[in-house]
Symmetry: C3
Subunit: 215 residues, 3 copies
């Protein structure tokens, strides 16, 4: 269970992010006619998948195995979708905000954990991106769709830029850690917001036809 | 190679379970026109995939790297399907029984290993479910189908209920370990049998249309 | 960054192999309309995916986290495809040669690392095959295609045969390591070349229809 007396601000943020990520997994799974268990699993994988791959690559026990809060949070998201499914579409901008907050936090957590473990700055950028985006990739593989992130790069670019900002501020300024974290989160949210508002996207490579490759 | 002098009852059960899981992977891969190597790999992944993810999450060397029996068992399953493919459909109820025995054993092994490593009871329920069901999920991803388990939850519910029963009996009774294991296995098999016999399934979430999500 | 003063012959080979694997991922991703970031990720996963799974199974930090060369190599491959995409089809035989060299090297590296860690010879054959082929499997899962390797087994058979040759020469002859490595690489390349030249392939299992399985 969860000891409520030790809740801090960052826990609230993490709960919001986990909840928003789980909601996106549950809704996409439901659209594919998954049953309640399937929706729960896809929600959980969306929420903890990125951090799990990061921790596996680091050779440490995945973060969610120490604390059942992520499980409860996903269960809460499932019940929430069951009760409010007719109204969810009216809440899309709220969920988008939650999702962006969660993404920003995940990037910060992933990059910070990497530097604390003594890896190079470029590993921190990769791990921030993995923590923020792999959950969504696994979600899309499980529902048998091409990962959205590879066609609409808003997520990924925001993660990469956020990771770079974190590393620069953390390693090359004497700024307070909290300020570095909040600045990074702000950049992630801003990049994503601007990319959607102005329909920014990366170009696609041209000139390739499927099955061109002889091997 | 394998030292036959040390075979115990649980090894026989594990061989039957591995064989049945491998058969399901090999048959589904063959239906997708995979060649012999592809069928072998899908069979192996179905049989050892769940336990492998469990061991990766625990940070221990995957169980099959210590003993080549799982490889031989999958090879035996491949040869078996090659020889008897015209008769397999008449053996479906036999394979269903083997498959259920294997599932039950995998849940027990996953949950027991978790508690022995000192993790919380809820982790044991998750690891029992992962050990029993992830092999089938990976099989379905490799053959490019939506994982069956997310639409027909018989497997998953049986794993979860079995995991809860194991944890309760193991932690809160003074029962002999063998009795706890057999009781758990019996519950898993019974739940699965009843679910199929009475067409029990979990409800699906309604009200979502694909591409509702703006992010 | 990369210290150019320490480059050895094996590094050049590894760079060529990584480059060729990344190119195949980038080209297939582009054919699916992935954007630049998506193409980069698929290229990177194709190049380092096999070695990453191998290292996760061994419980060691994945090789690419110690050296940013793999990242730069993938970036170089991306820029190369961007500039020369109209001419790439005329270079297919060159890329096929690079790809085969890379495959051969990956098999050698995977098998050698396994024996150095003290595992059994059959584990070395599996790890050589995983190192050589899993990157391509992950690539195909990400672009939502059935893994090519399971239908055209040239890759896989060459990996398995190469792994067996390496283990036999390494364990049962007093040959110099460099000679064992080059002989193995030669066998991998030869098997693949002959398989393509003479249209050799493994048979497919017959007699299965989809959805035969009641479970």
């Amino acid at each position: 269970m969860f000891d409520f007396s030790t809740i801090q601000f960052v826990d609230v943020i993490e709960f919001i992010g986990t909840f928003a990520f789980a909601i996106s997994g549950i809704r996409l799974a439901s659209a594919k006619k998954f049953d309640l268990f399937g929706a729960f699993v896809v929600g959980l994988v969306t929420a903890v998948g990125g951090g799990t791959l990061r921790d596996l690559l680091f050779g440490v026990i995945p973060f969610w195995m120490d604390n059942s809060i992520y499980l409860w949070c996903t269960l809460f998201a499932l019940v929430f979708v069951m009760i409010f499914h007719n109204y969810l579409i009216h809440l899309d901008s709220t969920f988008f905000a939650f999702d962006s907050i969660g993404l920003a936090l995940f990037v910060v957590v992933g990059a910070e954990k990497t530097l604390n473990l003594g890896f190079d700055p470029w590993v921190a950028v990769i791990m921030g991106t993995i923590t923020g985006s792999v959950g969504g990739v696994l979600r899309d593989v499980l529902i048998n769709e091409i990962p959205l992130i590879f066609r609409k790069e808003i997520y990924a670019s925001a993660c990469v830029i956020g990771g770079v900002v974190f590393v620069l501020l953390y390693n090359h300024t004497g700024l307070n850690l909290i300020f570095v974290e909040i600045s990074t989160a702000f950049v992630v949210i801003l990049v994503r917001y601007l990319a959607i508002k102005y329909h920014l996207s990366l170009p696609t490579l041209k000139g390739e036809k499927k099955n061109n490759l002889p091997y």
